[in-house]
């Protein structure tokens, strides 16, 4: 198959060590290799990465783990003037190693309730702790049954992308109810909706009872009401374990949608149950050129929550990234309306939603 010359060449190449380069450089290469390996090994062992210890999976360990997560990662301890060390002392006395799982959950849930934050929850296989006083301690200012009466949405309202909409006030006002910022909508949905209201004096977007959802949808919905990109807030995140270790604020801008614009009066209806992403939406719309906020102060929830876990597998959700309005004011406690209106029980009895009626009055005067 091969010529004699090729056979000789193959034998030379394939059998080793035969060439001069290999003979003269083998020991040098070996020394270099040994030096590199030794240096790496020495450096490697001298700077081994030690894995952190995990708290024990017992009552004490789970308590310490939860307290530590909040101490190092919760963003409102300083803002809310919470003495978290004192809370540790107080709650450490409420349990022992024999405390039952259910009781332990209740104790940890009560400890988290000291933060007075609707974004803080403890999740187990059998329950979820929560703090709801941000809306239960205040008037509802919303009756979901009332908006489906003939005076408002009636039975033949239309639905697009989670939005329920119809013309009200003898066709003079467009009304949208959007109850959940987890419900996606598209530009096409909004285009159809706004086009159907083109002959109306103005638009009402009712987000009462909307407990939040995706921040990105809050920005998208607001974008249809701005004619130019506008700075509408800021956001930070924790960059250390200290209570005041925060990053530089990042600008939250609301962009103007390129093709869909509603540059006419729009009223946002708000109540105490408008929380989290809804709160962020209301904060943005405060700066929209033709927008008014009518109703009650929103519930707040200005801290974007993240999740962590305890050694026993319970999940804790907690506010981690605080958000601010354009003036660098916290929005954790809510946004004040431009026009404060409470629903009256007399109006409700007569089939009127006081807040919607006020919005209609403003749009049709």
């Amino acid at each position: 198959m091969f010529s004699r010359d090729v056979k000789i060449r193959r034998r030379k190449i394939l059998s080793a060590p035969k060439n001069d380069f290999f003979k003269t450089n083998t020991s040098f290469m070996k020394k270099i290799l040994l030096s590199i390996v030794s240096a790496c090994t020495l450096f490697w062992f001298s700077s081994c990465i030690d894995e952190p210890e995990i708290y024990a999976n017992d009552n004490q360990g789970n308590f310490e783990a939860l307290w530590d997560i909040i101490d190092t990662r919760y963003c409102y301890l300083s803002y809310k003037n919470i003495n978290w060390d004192s809370i540790h002392t107080a709650y450490a006395q409420k349990f022992n190693k024999n405390t039952s799982e259910q009781d332990m959950f209740n104790i940890l849930g009560e400890m988290l309730a000291e933060l007075k934050d609707g974004h803080v929850n403890l999740y187990s296989d059998f329950d979820r702790s929560r703090y709801w006083k941000w809306f239960t301690d205040y008037p509802d200012n919303f009756n979901p049954d009332l908006i489906y009466t003939d005076r408002y949405l009636s039975d033949d309202y239309q639905i697009a992308g989670g939005m329920r909409y119809a013309k009200i006030a003898n066709g003079k006002v467009g009304y949208i109810y959007y109850g959940d910022f987890s419900s996606y909508f598209t530009d096409a949905n909004i285009s159809y909706i706004l086009n159907s209201f083109r002959d109306c004096n103005g638009l009402i977007i009712d987000v009462r009872g909307n407990g939040g959802g995706y921040l990105s949808l809050a920005g998208q919905l607001a974008s249809y009401f701005f004619s130019k990109e506008t700075l509408t807030g800021y956001m930070q995140h924790k960059n250390g374990n200290g209570h005041d270790d925060f990053s530089k604020p990042v600008e939250l801008k609301t962009s103007a949608h390129k093709t869909i614009q509603w540059q006419r009066p729009v009223i946002i209806l708000s109540n105490r149950h408008a929380y989290s992403a809804t709160n962020s939406f209301i904060s943005r719309m405060k700066l929209a050129p033709y927008a008014l906020i009518v109703g009650d102060k929103s519930g707040g929830g200005g801290g974007m929550p993240l999740s962590s876990e305890l050694p026993n597998g319970w999940m804790v959700r907690f506010s981690s990234s605080p958000m601010f309005d354009a003036g660098m004011n916290h929005i954790e406690w809510g946004i004040d309306p431009d026009v404060k209106v409470d629903m009256s029980s007399e109006d409700q009895t007569n089939g009127y939603d006081t807040i919607i009626e006020k919005a209609v009055q403003i749009l049709t005067r």
Binding site: R73, H237, S308
Partner: protein, 279 residues
Amino acid sequence: MRKTTIYLLLMLSACMQAQTDKLYPLITAADQIGLSSIQLRDPYLSPLYYNGAGLKYVHTQQRFFNPENNTLSMESKASALVGYTVNEPYSAAIMYVGGDYRWGAFYHFRLQPRLQLLAGGNINAGFGYKYNSRNVNNPVNVDVAVNLNLAGKLRYDAQIFKRTVRLTYAFDSPLAGCMYVPLVDASYYEMFGLGNMTDAVHFSSLHNKQGLNSEFTMDVPFNRSVLRVGLHVNNLKYQANDIIFKFQEVGFTLGWKYNFYVFSGRKNQAPKNFISTEE
């Protein structure tokens, strides 16, 4: 006429010999699939360790740079791993999908007729996607890293039951590179939605990234194929932004090894005695 015929035959013979004089550097390739035991810790998702199993695929290719010089070779290796892990209390799970490509070069030391030491290094690009469906606003974290690694192999050809079985121990370890590690409290909304990637990309070296990726393989020749059995162990720890990540994988693979050469293009056509289905 007779002289013409003889001259033609001699010329034909010379042409055939010229073609058979050329040395073809074969590419030695191997495909392996296997099962792995995985342990990972990603503090961005959870402070707990997650343990589980995964399915792995590896494709390796190695050839000499120059067939005239059998001391320098190049190797490329692509791998993929899909795994499912759970925390110790079995209350949550992290799904893992990862891929890695590395390319490197080795210098061959032929210490003895049956024993070779390959020393060199490689560059790798790795990606991992971890998903914890239970988490809120931080359900996903990704591993993205590029590393320069120290690499080596020790090969021994053993005579076992009249077969030459190649036993290989291979390893590589990261020396330097860069990696993506977010701050534990920075949301992906802020990083990718608002474009704030501060403190997310880090230089890595032995001070903050330590790992050893090793594999022991046994190549057993049969009549028409070479079976490759492998045991691999991958230990990796890295830290940045005051959080420490861990990825540990122990697995068993089975595959086959084969040699091939690529003929392509006008200047690298296959010899006439190589028959293709394209003809």
